[in-house]
């Protein structure tokens, strides 16, 4: 397929869609499917068949629409009318919905289950990475192409040199979305200059942080967006082989990416002589097998090569010597999701969003004690207050906000006093947390902070690969100390020892897992010291979570 044929495909698909009087897009992301989305889709199809509307109404699966806790969601696109999302759909309501929008009569559908596009949940969001998510059918290439998939690639292959692609990414100011925030353009330039017989591009989809599911959603909802970003990266750095490393817990994401690769290869959008140019790029999927440490890039490479996922010291960096000794570019799935829009609209356009040092938008998985949970994309620099209270709709049940946890087991807790902190890489670091991959879990006054610290430390203890002693032994000791604190048997000296261990792990661990493992402890110690003191000195748990030898839980 060449550029003209790609445009023709998009045009044909758009015309096909326009011909329908009404289109129902059913969310087929994991959260909606587990809430019963599949049954709803079937019921809609049946209702249309019963009412004899096959020719004028279409029901398709689409990706994530955002407010996951309200699922199953159905987006209604009436021709010429205003689009809306309907929440908590059930098979019983399907018939009424079809009738209201496509039936001959003027029946209406209950308004209370309607989420309009000007709802506060969407108000402050800017969708760049997720622009196609919830609008395209992830299993149909045509549907993605109609929304502009592969046009950026076609443009770059025809009009831009690899240097120019790198420069555009540098100009955008995009930083790695996996958590560390290394400038993507700089990484690409290094990689472009690296010497190697062949080069490899890897998309890191091993999203291990509990409470984070941005990458999965993107792979499930708009797989071609990720593949296009990878192909642009491969063109920019001179690679011809790519791997998508998908976390083992995400079989649906792996399946969608796999199907997307096959569809793109059939049409000459991946594989050899892409879009009739001289550029070749093959992509393979690799599945993880349940190890958090494989999110670390050297461990990830070991896992792709079929070995135990244990990290090795850097340098050499993967860009110098990566998979099978070849220069390897590793970026997060979400980072790749940003590339196509940057090439399409230009780096400057992208840099117009966000703050001075943190450009663009970031996808967060908003969860925990907020009224609206789900996947959101916001410009960096937005305050935590706006996310929790405007987008998230505040804390349910009249409870009060206590803390927001970002960055998973490598991050920390942000207390209420810092609600007006802008969400960018530097500000979060100053507070002792990190941006992380984008999990954002809100806690109300019923969460006990030492217990939260223990929860994350247990996680790190379980997930430590066991290679280096500080992480292997240190996490165990820290869990013991935290256990003693939450059991009410701790002495004031224990806190000192805990702090010492934090420092030890931070300074001497081999990889990011161990180095950042103390962060949840350090940040809760910093912002919620009084809770530790209450446990140790007063023998009570202010949140009423811990059973301190029988004098709490009331």
């Amino acid at each position: 397929m060449n550029r003209v044929e790609l445009q023709a495909m998009a045009e044909t698909e758009r015309n096909r869609q326009k011909a329908f009087q009404c289109r129902f897009l059913c969310c087929v992301g994991t959260p909606c499917l587990s809430a019963g989305g599949g049954v709803v889709q079937e019921a809609l199809k049946q209702a249309i068949a019963v009412q004899g509307l096959d020719a004028t109404v279409e029901v398709v699966g689409a990706g994530c629409m955002g407010p996951c806790s309200r699922g199953p969601l159905v987006r209604v696109l009436p021709a010429g009318g205003e689009e809306a999302i309907y929440e908590h759909m059930t098979p019983e309501k399907a018939g009424a919905l079809v009738e209201a929008f496509a039936g001959p009569g003027c029946s209406s559908f209950p308004e209370e289950s309607r989420i309009s596009s000007d709802s506060p949940f969407f108000g402050k969001q800017v969708k760049i990475v997720l622009s196609g998510s919830g609008r395209v059918d992830p299993d149909r290439l045509e549907s993605c192409v109609a929304e502009g998939a592969y046009t950026a690639l076609a443009h770059a292959l025809r009009e831009m040199t690899p240097e120019e692609v790198c420069q555009e990414v540098v100009r955008s100011g995009l930083r790695g979305r996996g958590g560390a925030g290394y400038p993507t353009g700089v990484k690409w330039n290094l990689m472009r200059k690296a010497q190697g017989e062949r080069k490899i591009v890897v998309a890191n989809g091993d999203e291990g942080d509990p409470g984070a599911y941005m990458d999965r959603t993107l792979m499930e909802s708009d797989p071609h967006r990720v593949l296009e970003g990878m192909a642009l990266a491969a063109y920019a750095v001179g690679a011809d082989q790519g791997y998508v490393y998908v976390r083992g817990e995400y079989p649906l994401a792996a399946q969608r990416i796999q199907r997307a690769i096959q569809a793109a290869e059939r049409q000459g959008l991946l594989g050899n002589r892409i879009l009739e140019s001289r550029f070749n790029f093959r992509v393979d999927v690799r599945m993880g097998a349940g190890a958090f440490v494989c999110g670390e890039e050297t461990a990830l490479m070991a896992s792709i090569m079929g070995r135990r996922g244990q990290p090795v010291p850097r340098p050499p960096y993967p860009a110098q010597r990566g998979l099978w000794g070849l220069p390897t570019l590793i970026n997060n799935v979400e980072t790749f999701g940003n590339i196509a829009p940057i090439i399409q609209h230009g780096g400057e356009w992208y840099a117009g969003y966000g703050t001075e040092k943190s450009r663009g938008t970031k996808v967060f998985a908003l969860a925990g004690k907020v009224s609206w949970t789900g996947l959101i994309e916001v410009p960096l620099g937005i305050t935590l207050r706006e996310i929790v209270f405007d987008i998230g709709g505040g804390i349910p049940g009249g409870r009060s906000f206590k803390a927001a946890q970002t960055g998973g087991p490598s991050g920390g807790c942000i207390p209420a006093a810092h609600l007006d902190t802008p969400m960018d890489y530097e500000s979060l670091q100053e507070l002792g947390s990190i941006m992380g991959s984008g999990g954002l879990i809100v806690m109300d006054d019923r969460s006990c902070m030492p217990d939260v610290a223990k929860f994350f430390m247990e996680f790190c203890m379980d997930e430590s690969c066991g290679k280096c002693a500080p992480c292997r032994g240190g996490t165990v000791q820290m869990v013991r100390l935290l256990q003693r604190i939450t059991d009410g048997g701790a002495a004031p000296e224990d806190l000192e020892q805990l702090k010492e261990l934090c420092l030890l792990l931070k300074e001497t661990s081999l990889c990011g897992l161990g180095q950042t493992a103390p962060n949840p402890v350090l940040s809760t110690l910093r912002h919620f010291r009084e809770e530790y003191d209450a446990h140790i000195r007063e023998g009570r748990c202010p949140a009423g979570v811990c059973d301190l030898s029988g004098n709490s839980m009331e």
Partner: protein, 193 residues
């Protein structure tokens, strides 16, 4: 590369393979072949092996090692490193409790404790009759539905300790014979008050 028909080597173990439904070993062979006998495909091969056998038996690990010409210690090392691989047989039914952050905040630990108490087992164990395996996971990414439980692959959202126990009990009863179902129901009602 030897041909697949001479796969089972003339060793004392050969009889093992014959007894244990060769078709399942053929599945492994197919995956190995698809990956062109590359040693790098070990994780894919082990995943396929676990899918067809339910868990990774010692002889299966040895077989994979031989076919990929890897040291058995290497294969064992990989199989024990990743959480997905189980070297123990799994129960007839699988119950997974999510202990991700969002589920933790929604008190999924109480669900786990209730299930452990009701079925007299710890997470990671299988009941003695081989009916139920109880495991935990760190985040399934269904945080909007927290706390989440997975029963035989079906994700159940917004569970409580009581509803979780009821759902698992119902699942176990489905497979029992009608008479034993009645018996267990009556014991259940005795327990409740």
């Amino acid at each position: 590369m030897d041909s697949l028909d001479s796969a089972s080597p003339q060793s004392p173990r050969t009889s093992d393979f014959r007894d244990n439904a060769d078709a399942r070993f053929k599945v492994i062979d197919r995956v190995i072949k698809r990956h062109q006998f590359q040693q790098d495909a070990l994780i894919e091969v082990l995943t396929a092996a676990q899918e067809s056998f339910g868990y990774l038996r010692e002889d299966v690990l040895a077989y994979v090692a031989r076919r990929l010409q890897l040291p058995p210690s290497w294969v064992y090392g990989v199989a024990t490193f990743y959480h997905f691989f189980s070297l123990q047989p799994q129960g007839h039914h699988q119950c997974i409790v999510c202990l991700g952050t969002a589920c933790y905040v929604a008190r999924s630990a109480e669900i786990l404790a209730a299930l452990e108490k009701r079925f007299g087992m710890k997470a990671g164990q299988t009941t003695s009759d081989g009916e139920l395996s109880l495991t935990t996971t760190r985040c399934l990414g269904s945080c909007g539905l927290a706390p989440v439980l997975v029963l035989d692959g079906e994700i159940l959202g917004r569970q409580s300790a009581e509803s979780a126990v009821t759902r698992v009990e119902a699942l176990l009863h489905e497979t029992e014979s009608p008479s034993s179902q009645a018996v267990s129901r009556s014991t259940e009602s005795e327990e409740k008050p």
